[in-house]
């Protein structure tokens, strides 16, 4: 798994069953280097604003000592984290780190372990931050003309996708307040860098599994704005003909496998989609089946059992999946720090035998770099990764959330870190684009939103017979009627509800 490992780290930490890298810990959450321009405010200078940051001095200290595998130093440095002590004391002497038990055997063929590396975990478990990846990347391409992370075209694509996400959600808010859409509507404002940074690297055949905050994931994956807007309006032209709604975006064509409205529910489904890619390649012998699945979910979900169950099975079976945590620090009104014993979610990756990476989720370029590695790793059959994107939602949990618990100072701090503004600045500073080009994109998206709303508003409501359609894929699913024939053969069968 070379791309995510700096050589120095592998040398220093070959014997730790849980490998931590000092650079990773030194450059933990949001402690961005300022090399990408002034817009990326180094987070560590504003420690009062994010509770996470106040832990950082401790972590930094740990980073210096950990490299010597000094468990005692770690324990004292991390005295604030009760739970940190146990895993870090582990070494390879621990018998559990070797798959010697026969009970591990049933999956033998499913997770081929190279005979030269019988202890799989030693080489694959790494936790790093995006800074490490970036440095490595730039160092390893000496012939690269500059340090640019994107080409002009890529920059424009990312910008357009993020503006699309933002514009769409702003339009949703308007339409919601005008009564055009109803129920729960969860908006993605502020988190665009995650969706764009990841999904724009996928092919059409790759899958995305989302949560109730799913509009923008669907848009990034390619579902037309008209279809998503119509779905929210509850019209037949919606991507699910108005039968799904805001929290349940599906598209077979674009492999959007659903928004899931319950916490943690999407993760096993995504893991199953990844299971299918592997099954198709290895059992059905479809050599071109290298599809990757992305599972998006939030910080609150990382306290749910299904998250842990699937990290385990995905690593156990080396499934082509990337677990993308959109850590926006709040689960409705529950602060991440008040809900999670160890708030650094990325650390749970190594605990299950996969890389855990933390990345600044307000920086689309950093997200993209990390996503490239993780998606590439999955596609090459090297197994899953856990990526924690630290981000922030600019609106309440849903449009019904009064959002009274988040500190206004925290909100305004993150407002200054708007991922769209940041990308704009980066591109200007590196002379990638001109202002009028971006203006043209913004105008195009504005027009697209107007069009989507007009289209949705003019679209027909689902007709009455549609109520009973699609309950089963099998048209005979409704069973046998009083006349002994299948009920679906009765021409009246989609009319009324009582007898079906």
């Amino acid at each position: 798994m070379p791309p995510l490992v700096t050589p120095a780290i592998t040398k220093l930490l070959p014997s730790l069953s849980l490998a931590f890298s000092a650079p990773a810990l030194n450059s933990l959450p949001l402690s961005l280097s300022s090399q990408q321009g002034a817009s990326f405010v180094p987070k560590c200078k504003q420690t009062k604003l994010s509770p996470l940051v106040s832990l950082r001095p401790l972590i930094k200290h740990l980073g210096d000592t950990l490299i010597h595998s000094s468990a005692d130093a770690m324990a004292s440095a991390f005295s604030a984290f009760k739970t940190m002590n146990q895993p870090l004391h582990r070494t390879t002497n621990n018998p559990f780190s070797k798959p010697t038990s026969p009970f591990l055997g049933s999956g033998r063929e499913f997770r081929p372990v190279p005979s030269s590396a019988p202890v799989r975990r030693q080489s694959t478990i790494v936790a790093v931050s995006s800074d490490v990846v970036k440095k490595k990347k730039t160092n390893s391409i000496p012939f690269s003309s500059s340090d640019l992370l994107i080409t002009r075209e890529e920059g424009l694509e990312l910008f357009e996708d993020m503006v699309l996400g933002r514009g769409f959600e702003d339009m949703c808010a308007q339409m919601y307040y005008r009564g055009k859409m109803f129920g729960f509507v969860h908006l993605y404002n502020g988190q665009e860098a995650v969706s764009t940074g990841f999904i724009k690297l996928l092919t059409k055949e790759d899958s995305v599994v989302s949560t109730y905050r799913d509009h923008v994931h669907a848009l990034s994956k390619g579902v037309p704005a008209r279809q998503v807007m119509s779905e929210l309006f509850g019209r037949t032209t919606g991507c699910c003909r108005g039968q799904g709604g805001s929290m349940h975006m599906f598209s077979k064509e674009f492999n959007v496998l659903g928004g899931f409205a319950f916490i943690g529910e999407g993760i096993p489904v995504a893991t199953g989609a990844a299971f299918t890619s592997k099954y198709r390649r290895e059992v059905l012998k479809e050599a071109d089946s290298d599809h990757v699945t992305l599972a998006f979910f939030g910080d609150g979900t990382c306290n749910n059992g299904q998250f842990f169950e699937c990290l385990n099975m995905a690593a156990l079976w080396k499934l082509p999946i990337v677990f993308v945590v959109e850590n926006n620090l709040w689960a409705i009104g529950m602060s991440h720090l008040r809900a999670t014993s160890d708030p650094e979610i990325w650390k749970k990756g190594p605990a299950f035998g996969m890389p855990g990476v933390h990345v600044d989720g307000m920086d689309v370029l950093k997200v993209r770099e990390v996503a490239k590695e993780a998606i590439g790793r999955a596609r090459r059959g090297e197994g899953p990764s856990l990526i924690e994107c630290e981000t922030y939602r600019f609106r309440g949990h849903s449009l019904a959330d009064p959002d009274e618990l988040r500190d206004p100072a925290e909100k305004s701090h993150y407002a200054t870190r708007d991922p769209i503004t940041a990308l704009k600045k980066y591109m200007f500073e590196h002379n990638l684009v001109k202002e009028d080009e971006l203006k043209a994109i913004e105008k195009k998206i504005d027009e697209m939103m107007e069009d989507a709303v007009e289209f949705a508003d003019a679209s027909p409501l689902p007709p009455r017979p549609q109520l009973l359609e699609n309950v089963f894929a099998d048209p005979k699913g409704f069973g046998i009627g009083p006349d002994g024939r299948y009920r679906c053969e009765d021409p009246q069968f989609t009319q009324g509800t009582a007898h079906v």
Partner: protein, 371 residues
């Protein structure tokens, strides 16, 4: 109005029906006289084996399905034949592996998810209901979910409240699911094959106590192309005095009760529901219109149970044909007790069915006393 007509019907044809029912019990009409015997376990195993062999997209996953050969040996031999990629031993994570199965079905595979018992499906019910049953509808038909959830359901012996529970009514109340409950080896083979081939999620409720029971099976049943229609009940025993509906283990009890009733001159028609959802209302109503009396039998709890649904269906469609109040026999309205004597009282027994059928026929006293 009901009673007089009913008695007349009950008396007529008594002797003939007794003879017929006895012969039917020995060899049901669909079986040839040289029928081979097969246990329900082997029927399920052979159905899985044949469907896996026919379609490489079919795979089975669950706890102990592979190296252990199945907690109840339903998957015996499959690991050797199909390998660990298609007979997937999972960790003890119902929510996780059930969801993985559903995700695999979204993408066109045909998973068979085994629950060691259906009691454990409670940990995964979110995926059965929310991820599997509703997705075809929510996606407007874009994503179908061809998956089978199977395992033993209902009361086992001496395992207490959390391991003795019938989920037929629970799952059958959910649109988007099909719920099957086999009784015999013919049912087990035909319905499991139909379930695996079906494009929709199917909850397949087996019964632990039936696994070891042998039933005669015809050459037709043993054919690898055999399958049964989902949504169609089977009349196990024809009769004309009272209709008894049952599913799973209770079909055997109903047949034994019918045998006793026949000796007392009551000709019972026993309907093996096979499919709880879709429910074969037409077969049930046609039978009730013939017998004018109905006894429903199930092991599950009484309130909002399968019997309640059948009763509602008959009241809606055949109210004017009823000559007696519908008798509903179900498990007691209590969590299953551990003590053997209490446990026996908590679930329907053959005597309960006999008594209810006699009540429905206004014959709570022995035939001899009124003759």
């Amino acid at each position: 109005m009901l009673g007089i007509a009913g008695k007349g019907v009950a008396r007529g044809g008594m002797n003939a029906s007794r003879i017929r029912s006895q012969s039917l019990l020995l060899a049901s009409k669909s079986y040839s006289s040289t029928a081979k015997q097969m246990t329900v376990r082997d029927a399920l195993n052979s159905a899985l084996d044949e469907e896996m062999s026919a379609d490489p997209k079919v795979f089975i996953m669950g706890e102990e399905v592979g190296e252990y050969q199945g907690a109840y040996k339903i998957t015996k031999g499959l690991l050797d034949k199909y390998g660990p990629d298609r007979v997937v031993d999972t960790p003890i994570t119902e929510a996780g592996f059930t969801g993985i199965g559903v995700g695999a079905a979204y993408h066109g595979l045909k998973p068979v998810v085994e629950f060691m018992t259906f009691n454990f499906s409670m940990q995964a019910i979110d995926h059965i209901i929310n991820s599997a049953a509703k997705s075809n509808y929510m996606s407007a038909g874009q994503l179908s979910v061809p998956i089978v959830f199977r395992g033993p359901n209902g009361a086992a012996a001496g395992v207490g409240a959390q391991h003795s529970h019938c989920y037929a009514a629970w799952y059958s109340s959910c649109p988007g699911l099909k719920v099957l409950a086999p009784y015999s080896s013919e049912d087990a083979r035909g319905l499991l094959k139909a379930a695996i081939r079906d494009p929709d999620p199917v909850v397949f409720l087996e019964n632990e106590l039936l696994y070891g029971e042998s039933f005669p099976v015809s050459a037709e049943v043993l054919d690898s192309s055999f399958s049964l229609p989902i949504g169609k009940a089977k009349i196990e025993l024809e009769g004309k005095d009272v209709t008894i509906t049952a599913f799973s283990k209770m079909v055997g009890f109903a047949l034994k009760a019918a045998e006793i009733l026949a000796k007392e001159g009551i000709s019972a028609e026993v309907i093996n529901l096979r499919s709880i959802r879709p429910l074969d209302r037409s077969t049930i109503n046609a039978s009730v219109r013939k017998t004018n009396r109905l006894v429903t039998v199930e092991e599950g709890f009484p309130q909002h149970g399968v019997g309640a649904e059948i009763c509602a269906s008959v009241v809606e469609d055949s109210f004017e044909y009823l000559d007696a109040p519908v008798e509903r026999i179900s498990g007691s309205d209590v969590p299953t007790p551990y003590a053997a004597n209490l446990e026996r009282m908590a679930f329907p027994q053959i005597e309960d069915i006999v008594r209810a059928a006699k009540r429905a026929c206004y014959r709570s006293v022995p035939m001899a006393a009124t003759a």
